[in-house]
Symmetry: C2
Subunit: 398 residues, 2 copies
């Protein structure tokens, strides 16, 4: 593989630089090296270089992207939405392979080079969602690194047979064991979490648990997660997604929970839900908790919003947390880059010699401007190969 | 002026239609009329037609658009931000005429055909902000209808001389009397509001008051606003902007306030601040309160966010209020169209025969998609003239 020089870029602190890429990795960052035969040179046009964006919480199997507009008139409760989705999967014909491919192409165009996606597993669809997503992972293996979470969206123990399907999903190639509201959905938090962690142990896999439960109820579930993380030596391998309970009013209890998360190295995924109490990004960051971010569902039967742009998502987190100063906005940017990489345990992530050459160029004077203005991505590289240019992915969606 | 036919557009309910425009107004909406000599035909490409977007709360005088990136390291309090802004006006050289022109051009590109802007009036800059904005209003008189609010950002009674400047601003051509946190800033709510309403009476002008005051304090100020609106017969002529107090915990008190707002026809401007308690858009709508929306400050010394796109702003309001169903998202869209028009007392607004031909075309299957996806505006017409096309304004920014 020839050497590629990505010239005339700027680093986060404004320093002009060139990035030398060899064998898909960053060989050097600094002054442009003298020309050498056979190398390729790419003009960065003075753009800001960021490491590839990390989408740490997607639902690729359920987006309606590219389908006819779905007029949403669903009821207000969580269960309404879950049941409506199961119904619409059949009525609308939401094909997981096709739909996930569409969202991957959109995500590439926005500069995501890593995606963790939760994929529904239930007794109605079995593993068809997982199989569709695994096909998409294979199809785009050179464009994006994808982690697949086996996700019991409709409940695990309340729907006998689901746990066995979860195990089959892991055997089929899922990477992460998912879980969901152990009190609110399965009505048996101990059993739900024991099953999730046992499966994770069996496959040596990490855990990622959706926790929408509010206030003290969610706090209790979170404690149970932390206890298991510690007892099983899974520090650094567990993510709690949403964690709305950390936005509860009882600040002293929240502070104790945050301390436990930091100590057990449980990461938090927050996408800055504007209508709910949310974890304070600053508080968690100051306590040393790893923070990541994701789109959550986009354009699906749950709601119409979202465009897979992790810079826009960082902006929403910034707005939700009132991050205004540049150093604060950079915290939101960190969640969609390095924070996501830590939560997802990515090897060789970053803009440094030795790392994979996963790079996004964006026309912005400063990192905070990249978040606030979200300009089209000038160039996206995955392991040194151009995968998107001027806001468009080179791959095409089905 | 010749007849213009805007062909091949779709109305909100999906009906294909053509809009006939004569003398800057909509002459008819329906089946395309037979060709007639001398008329101009514009191809709408099947796009969704919306009435021109209404930006009901901007701060055109303070944006840093087009200037070097401003690295923000301001302190957290409201007073920190107000004082820093006064300082940076000099340090950075924020020229109100130039900067407001830049934001107007951006707003045009996003489809805003009406803008209400608050303009700082204080003892340091005097009327220079007002004069700059009035110059911009004149410059773009054929592209956008602009309402200018004389706004005592640094306090009115606490800074002797400001009230006289406010009166001079109204005489110079400002349209609306502004006010600001009568308890928190001027420390004398009765005197502040009496002065604001007296000025409004003197000029026969409407009132638009920034009310950031939280909880019961803001509720008290709001009651004082309603009392004066009623006593002076100013029903339908008063806007309370932000109104964070309506997001307070005491639901019964909020309900009483909402009832009073509806009865006195005081409109509420909410831009869906994601980090604060906010008025419930649904509750206010159901009570019959007029709702409008605005960008508030964009890319300024207060914070880096914002792009003058009222469809994006409607999305943020939608996210903040958890508006998911199409009928709910349409409520947010109404705030940036008809609601804004009612709050700003616009004559001849809407997509109907007899109205001004202020029209935005957007590639969306449904109104909710326009909000969720915010596609580039295909075409923007102001009084029948094209002012923006394919996401770009025809006017250029200084």
């Amino acid at each position: 593989m020839p050497t590629t020089i990505l010239e005339d870029i700027r680093l986060a602190d404004g320093t002009p630089a060139a990035i030398t890429i060899r064998d898909g990795r960053i060989a050097a960052i600094g002054a442009p090296p003298p020309p050498s035969p056979g190398e390729e040179r790419i003009d960065g046009g003075g753009a800001l270089a960021l490491p590839g964006l990390v989408e740490a919480h997607a639902h690729l199997d359920k987006t309606l992207l590219g389908m006819k507009w779905y007029r949403n008139d669903v009821g207000p409760s969580l269960v309404d939405k879950i049941e409506n989705e199961r119904l619409q999967r059949r009525v609308l014909g939401i094909d997981p392979a096709r739909q996930s491919a569409r969202q991957v192409v959109l995500a590439l165009s926005k500069g995501s080079t890593h995606v963790r996606t939760h994929v529904d597993v239930d007794t109605e669809i079995g593993l068809s969602g997982i199989e569709g997503i695994l096909a998409t992972r294979e199809r785009f293996r050179d464009e994006v690194d994808m982690q697949v979470v086996a996700f019991p969206q409709s409940g695990m123990l309340v729907r006998p047979g689901t746990l066995e399907l979860m195990e089959a999903a892991m055997r089929a190639g899922a990477d992460v064991v998912g879980g969901l509201d152990p009190c609110a959905i399965d009505r048996d938090p101990r059993a739900h979490l024991d099953a999730v962690f046992a499966l994770a142990q069996k496959f040596g896999a990490p855990v990622d648990i959706h926790l929408h439960e509010p206030g003290e109820l969610g706090g209790f579930s979170m404690e149970l997660v932390v206890e298991r993380t510690r007892a099983l030596g899974m520090q650094g391998r567990v993510v709690v997604s949403h964690a709305f309970c950390l936005g509860m009013a009882d600040a002293a209890y929240v502070a104790r929970l945050v301390e436990q998360l930091a100590e057990a190295r449980v990461a938090i995924m927050s996408h800055g839900a504007p209508y709910r109490p949310v974890p304070s990004v600053r508080q968690l960051h100051d306590a040393g908790v790893v923070l990541c971010c994701g789109s959550d569902g986009i354009r699906d039967t749950w709601g119409p919003y979202g465009n897979a742009d992790m810079l826009e998502r960082a902006m929403i987190v910034g707005l939700r947390n009132n991050l205004r100063r540049d150093d604060e906005v950079e915290l939101a940017l960190d969640m969609v880059t390095h924070g996501g990489a830590r939560a997802m345990e990515l090897e060789g992530y970053g803009l440094a010699a030795g790392c994979h050459a996963d790079i996004v160029l964006v026309d912005a004077e400063a990192p905070a401007e990249a978040v606030a203005a979200r300009p089209p991505r000038r160039l996206v590289l995955k392991r040194g190969r151009v995968v998107a240019r001027d806001g468009r992915a080179l791959a095409t969606a089905p």
